[in-house]
């Protein structure tokens, strides 16, 4: 039992290494954005170790930079990160039913797009030790990247900062585009979402709708488009398979 636990942990550690490296680069860019929005290095680091969510943190940094409320911040996290709800539902089927509540609470901390991806790729039931292994390498990569980005971001030449600014968006594209090759619905959804996002931004600027903040735009577009898509194109059961390709 003890050695089995160790094997699972090491496997999680091994599979987590590329995730940790990818997180480091992306978090570095995030740290730069955070310090640009006025957060201190220690605040950015705290945010990363407590939240571990690229999209959520990026949105929060945007909101904090221009001024926001606690309610808007909480609601933005709810909408942007609601996907973790579905992932955790799938994950609850993947772990053994007898897994203790404490283990479930610890695994929950590490539910990210990427860790979820590798976890669902494991054969058979998932051991909590696998998640701990992945978390043990992915979270330090994420946190350290944020810290160094926040500290070194101001020292780096402007051109390097400019270059790192696209890392986060490139990562998002790398998550959403591969499944679009297999699914016309997802491909169409991505195009429609991007066009709607650009359209709404133009509208907001054209008519100076200052109350329509970035977080609010994300919420409105996400709920509306996802709901329409869910009604028009309900997913079949292989939907979860496609989700796995997002890793």
């Amino acid at each position: 039992m003890k050695s089995e636990w160790k094997i699972w942990f090491l496997r999680g550690l091994r599979d987590g290494v590329p995730i940790g490296l990818g997180y480091f680069a992306v978090a570095f860019a995030l740290g730069i954005q955070a310090s640009g929005a006025g957060l201190t290095a220690w605040q950015s680091t705290l945010m990363s170790v407590l939240n571990v969510t690229s999209a959520g943190e990026a949105a929060a940094i945007g909101l904090l930079g221009v001024g926001t409320t606690y309610v808007e911040l909480a609601f933005t996290q709810l909408v942007i990160n609601i996907r973790y709800l579905l992932m955790s539902c799938s994950l609850s089927q993947k772990i053994a039913p007898e897994t203790s509540v404490l283990h479930r609470m610890l695994i929950g901390y590490g539910v990210t797009d990427e860790i979820f991806g590798i976890s669902m790729g494991v054969e058979g039931k998932l051991s909590p030790a696998y998640s701990y292994g992945a978390i043990a390498v992915a979270v330090p990569g994420w946190t350290l990247g944020t810290l160094l980005g926040a500290v070194l971001g101001n020292i780096l030449p402007l051109r390097a900062v400019s270059a790192l600014g696209v890392a986060l968006y490139a990562m998002f594209l790398a998550i959403i585009l591969p499944p679009a090759r297999k699914s016309k619905v997802i491909a169409g959804l991505i195009v429609v979402s991007m066009l709607a996002s650009a359209g709404l931004l133009l509208l907001v600027k054209r008519f100076a709708l200052d109350g329509f903040s970035e977080g609010f735009r994300i919420i409105v577009l996400t709920v509306t488009i996802s709901l329409v898509a869910a009604i028009l194109f309900p997913v079949k059961e292989e939907g979860r398979e496609a989700a796995r390709d997002g890793e």
Binding site: A25, A60, Y70, L73, N81, Y169, A174, L189, I225, G246
Partner: protein, 102 residues
């Protein structure tokens, strides 16, 4: 208004953690409602698309480097390149284009 950044960070962390942990602790059966399942399934694609575009166009010093990075990231993602590769290639593209321009 947010006047305490640390409190704001704790609030968002709490929301995100509850989203992640609640299904794991409470639900042991899969969601059966097809519309809810479908909605939750589409959410990440829509959210990440909306966040990426057009924001990526203003993420760099000039529009052209961002456009080039967007094209490179899209092509590499469609070719199923690994996530760190796509991120790095996009950064290198911006750096190269801006070096050429300035």
């Amino acid at each position: 208004m947010v006047n305490n950044i640390v409190l704001a960070i704790v609030v968002m962390a709490l929301v995100t953690y509850l989203i992640r942990v609640t299904p794991l602790v409470l639900i042991r059966r899969e969601i059966k409602n097809r519309t809810v399942r479908s909605f939750l399934y589409y959410v990440p694609y829509v959210t990440l698309s909306v966040m990426t575009f057009p924001a990526i166009l203003s993420a760099t010093a000039v529009l052209w480097s961002a456009l080039a990075a967007l094209v490179v990231a899209v092509v590499l993602s469609l070719c199923r390149c690994k996530l760190p590769v796509v991120a790095l290639a996009a950064c290198v593209t911006v750096f190269a284009v801006e070096t050429l321009l300035f």
